[in-house]
């Protein structure tokens, strides 16, 4: 591969890696800090993507809007809509205990998917939304635009990281970890556990929405089948477990590490004989599934383990 080609390939990997890092930070807020299991990441990601797309695309008869707003408004809309969706979900589900919440979150993702597929007036159904603008799209074109977008994505990663880190060390974050590690004693100490959980869930969902928006503006096109929803959710979980749940740096490192592995296997599988190429994505999924088992058994505290002393018996 020629050198510039390789360079821009790396840029595209880093953009996607950055989007995953945002998702991973969001999951770290919910699971790493709050102990809330969310198997519906892809749902909130999609809500954010659609919200930003509808807010920023030109007026269209095919779906709601668009409102042709500037992109920063799109990102804000993504966070607000995903956050409000998360708030509604949390209002109902946040009192559920670990396994039950996990079961419910699968249903939430499914319902969000159904809404996106079925409500054509809102999302143009399975045909999707085209012409989602890129920031500075009229200034730079082509590969240089990718470079600019890379900077923007990682600016977002940095902003989210700073926010999460602030949250983590704040009294709010301490309370949250106390709840995660021992709910009963936190409750006995007079903490409003459900209220803290609700906040955690909403913040996480809003950040997932932001990641969705970043992905919509990157691909410029959005449809229900653009991403394999389960794969997104699953990859983010593997990333957080591998990086070290409870640690924001770990979340970013894990996201990059797993995304690099994932992308590297693509290079490898693209050299397979043609009859295997169609199946290569399944092989990669299988490998990631096995990787998660390995991480869970041998590598539970992750690449960058959480530092504060844990009470939990792991």
């Amino acid at each position: 591969m020629e050198l510039t080609g390789l360079f821009f390939y790396l840029v595209s990997v880093l953009i996607a890696g950055g989007i995953y890092a945002v998702l991973c930070l969001a999951l770290n807020v919910q699971w790493g800090m709050g102990g809330l299991f969310n198997a519906g990441i892809a749902g909130f990601f999609a809500v954010g993507a659609y919200a930003s797309a509808i807010a920023t695309t030109a007026v269209s008869s095919k779906h709601l809007g668009g409102f042709a707003l500037p992109i920063p408004f799109g990102l804000a809309a993504a966070m607000i809509v995903a956050g409000v969706t998360g708030w509604i979900v949390a209002k109902i589900c946040v009192r559920l205990k670990s396994d039950y919440l996990a079961m419910a979150s699968v249903g939430i993702a499914e319902i969000l998917r159904l809404v996106i597929v079925n409500e054509s007036w809102l999302t143009n159904g399975s045909l999707g939304i085209a012409g989602v603008p890129r920031p500075f799209g009229n200034l730079v074109q082509g590969r240089e635009a990718d470079l600019l977008y890379l900077v923007m994505v990682w600016a977002c990663v940095l902003a989210v990281y700073v926010l999460c880190q602030r949250l983590y060390v704040s009294p709010w974050g301490r309370t949250l970890r106390a709840i995660r590690d021992n709910e009963d004693s936190a409750r006995a100490a007079g903490k409003d556990v459900d209220w803290f959980r609700l906040q955690t869930f909403v913040i996480g969902c809003a950040i997932m929405g932001l990641a969705g928006a970043l992905s919509a503006h990157y691909f410029k096109f959005l449809s229900p089948s653009a991403t394999e929803p389960l794969l997104v959710t699953f990859l983010v979980w593997v990333m957080l477990m591998a990086g070290g749940s409870g640690n924001n740096k770990g979340a970013i490192v894990g996201a990059l590490a797993i995304w690099f592995i994932w992308s590297a296997t693509e290079i490898f599988t693209s050299r397979l004989p043609p009859e295997w190429i169609t199946r290569s994505s399944y092989i990669r999924m299988l490998l990631v599934g096995l990787l998660l088992q390995f991480v869970l058994q041998k590598f539970r505290s992750g690449l960058v383990p959480e530092k504060s002393p844990k009470i939990r018996s792991d």
């Binding site: 996990a102 499914e110 319902i111 399944y282 299988l286 599934g289 096995l290 088992q293 058994q297 939990r312």
Partner: protein, 296 residues
């Protein structure tokens, strides 16, 4: 009225039977191993493909080849328990939930790898439904599914209440520590839980695949309804799970009936949301389910 029975109630009972058989395993695993088994739907898929493969080689009725699917599902379940769940047994169960989430993906990608990602049918061709009492129509398959589920339910009831193994399973589900004090072999009970759960999952997978077609997402798409059925029946209550499965199946189908006006009560495209709302409402207001299941 007869339309309601033919087009809503019978299909509801059929899909309900599928949920019921799947939910038995989920409920037993939740009761004995204490975790929500996210790979159970995909275990159904594996069982379904086992029978589909057997049909390619032995051209008889697919239901006669059920043992092949059951065997494949049992072997798969015991293997993932041994290699992926057992090492995590001493940790908080949520880790096993995460592991099972990964196993779901492993099962599915294996199915896609070996059997392709497209739709495949067991038997091609259209079959005429059986007409009884002039107006009652039921397809042969639906009749077989409902009857077989009934037989399995009765068998399961006697197994759980009369046999030593069945009682030991209920004992471990009730009080695992006391079961250990009484000297019961918990690992053996766990193995049999997988054997029974996997057998029923495979059977359900074949039913579901014959009713529509086999595809790698078949089981995962049914998971939510099966969780709802297990919760409805009460966690750790296999017979409750059967009742729960039938209720969820009927509720899903009949929710799309024209109850109040000429419009369906709930648009058929949102059918699977019914199970979710039943499940969440139960978890919030009656987490023990209809039959006094265990609380988490």
């Amino acid at each position: 009225m007869i339309d309601f029975i033919n087009l809503y109630l019978v299909p509801g009972l059929t899909i309900g039977s599928v949920y019921a058989l799947g939910a038995v395993g989920i409920s037993m695993i939740f009761g004995i191993l204490r975790f929500a088994h996210f790979a159970h739907g995909d275990l159904m898929t594996i069982g379904g493909y086992g029978v589909l493969t057997a049909v390619w080689f032995i051209p008889v009725h697919p239901l006669l080849l059920l043992p092949f699917g059951i065997a494949l599902a049992i072997v798969s379940a015991l293997a993932v328990d041994q290699f992926f769940y057992k090492p995590l047994r001493k940790l908080p169960t949520i880790y096993t939930v995460i592991a099972s989430f990964g196993v779901a993906l492993i099962f599915r990608s294996l199915a896609q790898l070996f059997w392709s990602s497209g739709n495949q049918v067991f038997i091609s061709g259209v079959r005429m439904p059986v007409v009884l009492f002039d107006t009652f129509r039921i397809s042969e398959l639906h009749m077989q599914v409902i009857l077989l589920t009934l037989i399995i339910a009765i068998g399961l009831h006697f197994f759980l209440t009369r046999s030593k193994l069945g009682r030991a399973m209920r004992a471990v589900s009730d009080e695992p520590e006391l079961a250990a004090v009484a000297g019961l072999d918990t690992e053996r009970v766990i193995r049999w839980t997988w054997v029974i759960g996997a057998s029923m999952a495979a059977t359900a997978g074949v039913f579901a695949g014959m009713d529509t077609s086999m595809h790698p997402n078949l089981g995962w798409n049914l998971l939510l309804a099966m969780f709802a059925a297990a919760v409805l029946g009460g966690i750790g209550k296999p017979m409750g799970a059967i009742a729960g499965g039938l209720i969820i199946g009927i509720a899903e189908e009949t929710a799309t009936f024209t109850w109040l006006s000429d419009e369906p009560l709930i648009s058929p495209s949102y059918k699977s949301a019914v199970a979710f709302f039943i499940m969440v409402a139960l978890l919030l207001f009656r987490p023990q389910g209809l039959f006094k299941g265990r609380l988490l």
